[in-house]
């Protein structure tokens, strides 16, 4: 558990980066600090491993004031993932990952074995061990950064805009990977970002900071989207917050039956879903007659029954050429269809539940 008690950071030039911060980061959870630039989120993060010293107040990790004792010892016990990975360009991937174990005095062989183990954990191919960071893509470098932070198995992980320098597709896969890892490891993670989507996706709790280093709201993401504390938070979470909130609601949606055709079959009038031999969706065709491979239109996003949210269900319906969203089971086979109206009805039902 990490606690900020009355923490203020004033820089020598008089700027107040963090102003009277009181906040408790729960152990084993992902806490996201989010806000515009100059809101003190990164400064707050860096006070946890004493990269920045508070001007007033105390920061404690598991009850111990971080300002007491040796800063290097403290930092070796706290994983840190920096923006753009911050890897050591002159060290191989394996040696980058082994950094903290070696600082802790492990012997080389054990540290390297640990590095190889972590490469597997974060999904890096073993042949990358002997390469240098410049030989890796941005996304791979970021994985190395995460592996390096995890190397000595620290209970606390600090992540400072770790995915901001990679493209959106890679970012999304890194986010998924982090959630998967966290499911296995249960670390206390403090994650800094300026991206509200990333914040609500990753955070068990989200702290919204406003310019001048003041904590504006600290809540679970669903609550944040549903009941912003004030106009600033409302403006920051953005116009799409109603739509984002769908991501935190899941419900049993009534599926309608969705017959499928295969390439070469004869399709009935209107839209038909084309599936492969295993029953997995391929795309849509419109109109009567024999289904030609060339006539198949790509389908929309898929809604996975059980694990999907109302947001992914609505997106499946809206992105489908036929207007019917395709629901699939855990193996990716077509389970049925849903419409945007179904989603909206489920939303109304969940509102009614909440009110009751």
């Amino acid at each position: 558990m990490i606690e900020f008690r009355g923490v203020t950071k004033r820089f020598p030039d008089g700027t107040v980066a963090v102003d009277g911060l009181d906040l408790t980061v729960e152990a084993g959870k992902v806490t996201v600090f989010v806000g515009p630039s100059g809101c003190g989120k990164t400064t707050s993060l860096r006070m946890i491993n004493r990269m920045v010293a508070p001007t007033e107040g105390t920061v404690t990790v598991d009850g111990r004031d971080v300002m007491a004792g040796d800063p290097a010892e403290l930092r070796r016990g706290i994983g840190y993932v920096i923006q753009q990975a911050g890897l050591f360009p002159h060290k191989t991937i394996r040696d980058n990952i082994a950094t903290v174990p070696l600082l802790l005095g492990w012997n080389k062989r054990r540290a390297r074995a640990r590095a190889d183990e972590l490469m597997e954990v974060v999904g890096l191919a073993p042949e990358m061990a002997a390469r240098y960071p410049a030989q890796l893509s941005g996304g791979q470098q970021q994985r190395v950064g995460v592996a390096r932070a995890l190397a000595a198995d620290p209970p606390v992980l600090l992540m400072d805009e770790p995915f901001s320098a990679v493209d959106p597709v890679v970012r999304e896969s890194l986010q998924e990977e982090l959630l998967r890892l966290q499911g296995e490891l249960g670390k206390t993670i403090v994650f800094v970002t300026h991206d509200i989507d990333e914040a609500v996706k990753l955070g068990d709790k989200v702290a919204v900071f406003r310019t001048g280093g003041v904590l504006a709201q600290y809540d679970e993401p669903g609550v944040l989207l549903d009941r912003p504390a004030d106009g600033f938070v409302d403006g920051f979470v953005g116009r799409d917050r109603g739509y984002r909130k769908l991501g935190f609601l899941s419900d049993e949606l009534p599926l309608t039956e969705l017959p499928t055709v295969r390439v070469g079959d004869s399709a009935p009038e209107g839209w038909s879903l084309v599936a492969d031999a295993d029953g997995r969706p391929v795309g849509w065709v419109s109109g009567e007659g024999t289904v030609e491979q060339s006539a198949v239109l790509p389908g929309g996003s898929l809604y996975e029954v059980g694990s999907g949210s109302l947001r992914s269900a609505l997106d499946a319906a809206l992105s489908s050429p036929s207007g019917r969203g395709v629901a699939v089971d855990g193996d990716g086979r077509v389970a049925g269809a849903l419409s945007a109206d179904d989603v909206l009805r489920a939303l109304a039902a969940s509102r009614a539940d909440e009110a009751a």
């Binding site: 491993n49 990269m51 930092r75 360009p89 060290k91 950094t99 600082l103 240098y132 410049a134 030989q135």
Partner: protein, 216 residues
Amino acid sequence: MVWDWIPRNLGMLGELLGEHVVLALVPVLIGLVLAVPIGWAAAGNRALRTVLVPAASVLYTIPSLALFIVLPAIIGTRILDPLNVVVALTIYTVALLVRSVADALGAVPSLVVAAATAMGYRPGRRFVSVELPLAVPVLIAGLRVAAVSNISLVSVGALIGVGGLGQLFTEGYQRNFPLEIVTGIVLILLLALVVDGMLVLIGRVSTPWTRAGANA
């Protein structure tokens, strides 16, 4: 036969070459050892940098002959002591390398230094295992200039009687014997090329990461 002079004097030429190497390269080593902490101080502190780097550059503008002659009065050596040349060239090396070291350390990405600190490196170990290795390419460039410059400056020492291969110039001039002068020039050139090549090689071997191209 004039060309005979070279084979007949091989022993003397070898001796002068050895003396030249020692007079030129010992100052490079001492200068490097002195310049690293000075450059490190300059890189870490803006105020110090604005004093140290220009001061070092000014040292380099002192004419070498003047320095060879003035030094004995300052450090109490005899005028013909080879130490005068070693001290003078060490001063030049420091003058050249302080800027190189300061620039090289200043060019280490601050993100990498911050990451090293956050991993739990203490400043001393961080310097040795992160900052200094990353400074090597720029440092080698500075060392090449200093080494070649020293190899050429040693010959000026011949005017005060301590000059390695430079003595071939003074002697050849006095005896009006051009072959001796040309031999001196060729040997100094070859020495400079060999030393420069060795430094390039050292640089390559110690920085395999600089040749690791993007996305192999």
